[in-house]
Symmetry: C2
Subunit: 754 residues, 2 copies
């Protein structure tokens, strides 16, 4: 196939094969490629020429204002999320605590499990009925968007709404899931809404906004939004910038670094102001903590060789556990996709079952723990009075605490805080940590994939911290480091093993714990666990992208692509237009194909021999036809004629699903016989490759420049001036291996050899 809309097909095919390859969450029936290339047609040039300095100034101001707005809104949403969760979950936990104190244990369980079930059902109902795209983490979808794949309604306002409230309900329901993935998605949704370039519906069509109506500016804004999401979730502004840089984006430039940094500074200021405002107890049960969520800085920080060895071992085990986690997530998602396909009711029931399971674990397992007498000198803090704290009383007599309840009957964040508490020695028994680690690891696995917005960071940190603290407690006779620091290294090792990020996780952990002195060790742990895990499989986000069948362009060309040339993957009939084309022909082609870009060929008498004029986009053609500046004869009308009817604003790319539809056109039979000059809307500078160009190099060109269409031109004269158009689809491994199956066999043989 050459020019066509392959992504649609790819999405459909992926959907059809669900039973084998599993598709999670939203339906992928409409995936669209994004186009980051600047369409340099005559209209664009005319617009550039006439653009005044004041407009450019307005544009710059607006760009920064939007970045500010994204930061502001994401910060507010992040705070609101935190505030709501702490109040809802706090109320639930206090209620359970109260009933426990009165020794009404059954009532306590009913209250606890009931609240959880209610919240879980609400979250699942929102997801299942209003916005299925809001389920799951959202980071893979945002990552795919920033790679140039726009999947259906992933950034729609309904998704935003469900993501915010679904995440609040889901986290409050006591699931082993986090809010950071959903916050990243939320930030991206907010940015996408602001980046629509105004709205005709709400009469927000300020002249300046129109410059934002393109995929390139939207992408930049969404990058800022994703970074703001991390900043709001972890109160880690610099970590957020690095997260987008390392994990989320596929294209990056320094100007964007600087703007993302600004957005995150705004988030930090918003969060800090609200936290300071809440300090007087004005926000109900909202916690006391400052910008640093799990402060570890007071811990002593000299370490010896035996500590180093312990940390290295921790890294290796963390890497293996992380790779196993990814493997199991994949397996479980495949199973879940079968349930998800059966409809909304099944999704809700599924969520309810997992909720009951979680409640049973959280409430049931603590009964296995012995009551421990409070350590001397901590009488004021033990047993804990309020909803959170290190020493939960549970069923124990006064002056004693249940260490398993301290971990299970708390919000996930409080449990992490407890695991990171230093100078409490062997507060947690080894058996407690073993039980908690196993429970959290397994619950985390079964929870991801239910129809609730669910982040992966917190479950992984929780499992990693309990595992690390376990190792630290076991090794405490021979290691000088506090078990709390081991909890930090454990979290780092499991994060490295699942996410495969290095610098950003390092900075996020630094900002979470404020423990700069441990930086070299955290770096070491991350390096080891990532290296170990990379031997087994790919990172969890990439895995999910693969399973969803999103056509993600990877950074490196596969070796077999060096043995192919661009011409090899071009196939099927090529559809082109002539510079001045009959309206009927255009209508016919637009109706019968789903291609998004068509080469325009100049033909005699307008030139001596057929030559490539450029590339015209489907969306531009529809707008041009709508304008009806047709001529009876095949003549050039020029850009002036088009400008009489249109501004370049009219051709700007609308937000997803908002462009003009082909069905809106109303062309009479008479007009069908007339001609229209395509030159003014033709992008005269499409990127081209010669047919003998190595496919690996063409792929590099395609990805680095963020293209949607790449014209393939013939090497020898005397043939048509363009022989095909490469799109994202043509660079996908499965497409190439279907065309050239022997590479597949070769690849498999290589894999077997290792």
């Amino acid at each position: 196939m050459s020019v066509r809309e392959p992504l649609l097909e790819l999405g459909k095919r992926a959907l059809n094969t669900t039973s084998q390859t599993a598709i999670v969450g939203a339906k992928l029936c409409s995936i669209e490629s994004l186009d980051y290339e600047i369409v340099e047609n005559d209209l664009f040039k005319e617009d550039w020429r006439t653009r005044k300095r004041v407009q450019i100034f307005q544009y710059v101001c607006l760009k920064w204002s939007l970045a500010l707005l994204v930061g502001l809104l994401t910060g507010l949403v992040g705070f609101f999320n935190n505030f709501a969760v702490e109040n809802i979950a706090g109320f639930k936990l206090l209620l359970t605590n109260d009933l426990m104190l009165k020794e009404r244990y059954h009532a306590a369980f009913v209250a606890y499990a009931g609240c959880n079930l209610l919240l879980a059902t609400a979250a699942a109902a929102l997801c299942a009925y209003i916005a299925p795209a809001a389920a799951g983490s959202g980071i893979p979808e945002v990552k795919a968007y920033l790679n140039g794949v726009d999947s259906h309604s992933i950034l729609a306002p309904s998704t935003l709404l469900v993501k915010i409230f679904g995440s609040i309900f889901g986290v409050s329901a006591g699931f082993v899931l986090g809010k950071e993935g959903p916050m990243v998605h939320t930030g991206a949704c907010i940015a996408s809404m602001l980046g629509q370039g105004g709205s005709r519906k709400y009469h927000l069509t300020w002249r300046c906004l129109r410059y934002f109506k393109n995929d390139r500016d939207r992408r930049d804004l969404i990058t800022c939004g994703a970074a703001a999401g991390v900043a709001a979730a972890f109160r880690a502004p610099v970590g957020g910038v690095l997260f987008t840089l390392e994990e989320a984006t596929s294209w990056w430039r320094n100007a964007l670094l600087w703007r993302t940094f600004f957005t995150n500074a705004v988030v930090a200021v918003v969060l800090r102001s609200l936290i300071v405002y809440c300090r007087g107890g004005k926000c109900g049960l909202f916690g006391k903590g400052g910008l640093i969520m799990f402060d570890l800085s007071s811990t002593v920080s000299t370490y010896s060789t035996s500590d180093l060895v312990a940390v290295i071992i921790l890294g290796v085990i963390g890497g293996i556990l992380g790779a196993l986690y990814n493997h199991l997530v994949g397996k479980i998602l495949r199973k879940y996709s079968i349930i998800n396909e059966k409809g909304a009711a099944f999704k809700i029931m599924h969520t309810m079952i997992i909720s009951l399971l979680t409640s049973c674990c959280s409430y049931g397992i603590p009964w296995l723990a012995r009551c421990t007498p409070c350590p001397p000198g901590l009488e004021d803090r033990c047993p804990t009075a309020g909803r959170s704290g290190n020493f939960k009383n549970f069923q124990c007599p006064p002056g004693h605490y249940n260490d398993l309840a301290s971990l299970f009957l708390n919000t996930n964040e409080d449990a992490i805080r407890n695991l990171f508490t230093a100078n409490t020695g062997n507060e947690f028994d080894i058996s407690t940590l073993v039980l908690f680690f196993i429970a959290v690891y397994c619950l985390g696995l079964v929870t991801y994939g239910i129809a609730v917005p669910s982040g992966l960071f917190i479950p992984v940190i929780l499992a990693g911290a309990s595992f690390g603290r376990l190792v630290g407690t076991i090794l405490s006779p021979i290691c000088s480091l506090d078990p709390a620091l081991f909890a930090l290294f454990g979290a780092a090792s499991l994060l490295g093993g699942t996410m495969r990020m290095t610098v950003s996780v390092c900075i996020i952990l630094l900002e979470l714990t404020n423990d700069l002195l441990m930086l070299p060790l955290v770096m070491l742990v991350l390096l080891i666990s990532k290296s170990v895990a990379d031997n087994f499989n790919i990172g969890v986000y990439d895995l999910i992208i693969q399973m969803k069948g999103l056509p993600f362009l990877v950074a490196h060309a596969e070796p077999y692509m060096r043995h192919l040339v661009a011409g090899d993957v071009v196939s099927g009939p090529l559809i082109t237009f002539t510079g001045v084309e009959k309206v009927g022909n255009i209508m016919q082609i637009l109706k019968t194909t789903r291609h998004h870009g068509f080469p325009v060929i100049n033909e005699p008498p307008f030139c001596e021999a057929p030559e490539l004029c450029g590339l015209v986009l489907r969306s531009h053609l529809i707008v041009l036809l709508k304008g009806k500046r047709f001529t009876r004869d095949k003549v050039l009308t020029g850009v002036g004629e088009v400008f009489k009817k249109f501004g370049s604003f009219d051709f700007a790319k609308a937000g997803p699903g908002k462009g003009m539809k082909l069905e809106e056109l109303d062309i009479s039979v008479d007009e069908m016989e007339m001609y229209v000059d395509l030159h003014p809307i033709t992008n005269k500078s499409p990127y081209t490759v010669v047919e003998t160009m190595s496919l690996a190099k063409a792929a590099l060109l395609f990805r680095e420049l963020g293209l949607r269409h790449l014209c393939v031109v013939p090497k020898t004269p005397g043939r048509p001036p363009v022989i095909g158009v490469l799109t994202r689809h043509d660079f996908m491994q499965e497409h190439i291996l279907r065309l050239f199956p022997h590479f597949n066999r070769q690849k498999k043989r290589n894999e077997e050899q290792t």
Copy 2:
């Protein structure tokens, strides 16, 4: 001009116009472009096909081993630098102190100034006679290298040696300059040495090393080296990664992030181990401090609105002062270049004069200060006994201290540490801070550009910190923040104003001071000062690159490039080869031109019509001719014939200045009449643009893919298959504006309008 070696010309031209445009430091008579494109010729493909898995594994291992080695060596050099400076400068200061205590004030001055002069002369002599390229910061050159410009001997071993010792002498000599720029350069030099891909001279030609013989792997390694330099200078491993990402590199990918991070982890471990080793006093006068150089974390950190306003004002003033600094650096460098041109002796004399000036200031100005009684409660620390410390006695009676001497008669690092000392209230008088700020700001300006390795970070931090502390001291009645924190903000604002970096400066300051709670305010200050300063001029490193005439490819295309097409800037006669070319022709062209790449055209009878076969490199041609596999007739010999004589190793690109020379060829008259088949060494997949491609888009392609040659092909058939080759030179503003002067006028008019 089309195919040619324009950079050489550009360098020469820049040199000729020195008197007007000023060129600083090294002679630029041989600038060479680097080529990051993979030369996919038959030899390469054959090599890929036969490459075994074990070789790939070796390659990966080696890549990481080299990254480890770079980290190890840079860490060691960084420590050695620190160790040497603290011992030399410490000895000098102790000697001066001793003489002061005996009230032999003149002798003290002679000793102080004499030591300084001696060290300065040694540093200048090294620079002037052995490696002129080692003078200055080195960051601009490394930045240019990573952009694809290899200027003469910038990464040579002699430069490395002079950089290390010159920097030690220069910093010890009490100049207002830093070691971080030189450390970055040192790291890059170490990486460049290790990245030569073995050495025939020293019989280090392990088979695996040959895969490193290309500009691409060298570039990656040098990126690691630059990052390691920052890490070693500031003990800031994450800051180092971000510095290279934000400021140094022009190309980036995630795999590199991960490797750089590893290198910096190694640096951190090396530094920490050595610091721990030195704690027992085993390293002479080497300081006590840990990994964090200026710890501020103990400072109270609540701030109010008035503090916020003060910080914003600080940011604005810092931005203005920073822009002024850049402007003045430019002016002074222009003046200095006249001195530098006169020869080595002048350079040394110049350095000696600046050294005497610095000595006079450091020793003279403290006499202006009143003696202050030691603050109560600090009797054990005041007056300071050793070489460093906050309360220098100088000429004062016992129990008193001279606050100006505490700043002037210390190493720069100790002076910064003193400015960052919290909880000492108004230790420094306002007049002291004013005097010190003015002196340091001016001395910093006149010092940069002398023939000594000199970093810009420390002078800027020093001036910024004194300015910030000044503001903090003035505002202390109304602000609740400690003046030490104001010193931090002052340093951030001036760094933002001169360097124009955001994220990396933020992280470097965080790692220097361990004060995470101030992060939002530091971000704010940086954003404001950068925004303010950007209105006046460009960042100091970009300024120096411009002044040195290095052909740096900027990230954004200039607006006027949208009005030009690729064909517009192609000019002059094009030199091409045919697929099977006469040896004599090749020799003739290689001798008479300096072009580095030649298009190869297939001609009948080997094909029907002339067509572009690919691009062949000068260096490959020389190697091929050296092999003498010539034929009597014009026939294809194929890749097998070439492989009988060569491995692809022989064609790998040697390190700078090491490739085979044309003069080494010895071709007989008889051989001149023979033919050679160029196909095996022709890169069959050169990137091409159509002549009507907009120049802005061609520039984007050229930069993003790191090209050296870009073939321009005709749009209409019936013309030669290639009409020119674009090189870096063709995208330079001055080249384009010389061809199209009206854009220059237009640009000027636009600038006047604003």
